[in-house]
Amino acid sequence: MMRRQPPAPALLGAGGLVVILVLWHLVATFGFTRPNGSYGAVPPPLAALGRVGADLVDPAYWSGIGATAGAALTGYLLAVAAALVLGVLVLLAPPLESFANQLGVVAACIPIAAISPIVVLLSPTGSRAVSVVLALLAVEFPMIIGVLLGLRATSPAQLDLVHAYGGGTLTAIRKVRLIAAIPALLSALKIGAPAAFLGAMTGEFFAVGVDSGAGRLLISQQYAGDYVGMWAIAILASAVSALGYGAIALLARWLAPWTAHTAGQTAGALR
């Protein structure tokens, strides 16, 4: 039923946003504002947004978020490379598919607090290795599933056609399988972008000797009791994640415009 609805009117969507902002404002004003007028753990949305504006002109925030994004990008690229290598192995030896799937499940299951102390222990002080590893683990499962879905996207009829015209396995891979795999791959790449930032930011809660980054800013503001600052960082981090998703979506539309319609369905299967 939901699938056959007309697209949600933008007006109602905006209404939902207004309802949430008003509720947030009421909770902040009546639940978390001290008698002297200073804000508690939940500042009103306008105060938090105002602080976001102030943060945006502060170069320290740019370099902090940039550092986190850099670690996220490293982990993201490593995860993509690993998933592609697994994809090639599955292409060469199809029985490996369930093994690749299980590796993805294990990567998704590993608790953050379990892997982080080990990475911190084994990496030098001041290293962002833990952010990179957490970003990698966060991206790996959707990437592996995306690669496997992509490999399965070719119909037998398409392969028969290539073989009927005298094409070999390599021609089939080049002309059909890679093209067919692109929509699932792009969906996984999109989902992976915010996940990588999440991993990198969480990693900074564990890193030793790292004093910059979005996660570090959040922790230092927590120690200082700067609640407005914490909410501003939360909003900024969400915006960066959304930008990462949007950037990949734009790139996908530019590189493979025919995937714009199918991407949503594959993303549903990925979750």
């Binding site: 939940v42 608790p111 379990a114 102390p117 222990l121 969480t202 994640s241 299967a269």
Partner: protein
Amino acid sequence: MSAGTPERRSAGARLRASAPALITTVVTLAVLLAGWQLAISVTNVNAYLTKSPVDVWNYLFVDGTFSPESAAERRAALVPMIGVTVYHAGIGLVFGVSLGLVGSVLLSVSRTLRAMFLPIALVLQTVPLIAMAPVIYAVFGAGVVTAAVIAGVVTFFPLLMNLGAGLSAASPETVDLVHAYGGGRAKLLVIVQLPAALPYLFAGLKIAAPAVISAATLYEFLFSFEGLGANLLTSRSYSDYGLLWTLVVVTIALALVAYGLVVLLERLVLAGRYPPESALARRGGLR
């Protein structure tokens, strides 16, 4: 995962059919353990800091290899830590699943609510919510409520999205049948939509169950003094590396067991009742 077949089969037959998946899991874990052992043997890492699978085995089962002397005593010390983490994770799971169920039913029943809040939910699920743990802590303070909210946050969105897809998965013919017999909205929900959503519930739980273990241990590590998470931190501070590596293995094992239990429950509950998973995976989500 092995795909089931559409015809009715007993739960036992269904479980036996999943034996290949179990073998793959065992092989995967063995490969990972061997890789860990190999990495330690081949590279020249510090043996004081780095423990191998054999060391963890010794910590758990061999007397006199670590302190305290008795392995049984070391194992006994782990039990309360696991208990606390399971408690935190369980509360969070129940909290997140309940909210996800209520949310998805509301979004499914009301077209207006769906138009108002689905876009926001779609945006929010990409937000790095677990990285906002310090904000949640600032709001709810130390205690089980914060643990439940942090673990609930990682459960809510997978459940909302999957159940939302499931509630809309009933075939139009079934829906028409209920209407033809005079059934109303509530009847449709209870006898058609909720049962049709069961496979989607398990799809959501497969993501949520290991995630609540991760969220609970993250909460314990950052904000509390009990549970596996907190002891991961203190064992490192006390340079008790045997305990640290054992806790890492126990925590990862707990998350894998949580996932495995959902898979097992799914196979028992859905045995012979639903089309194979592969047919479901092709359908679109709540969008």
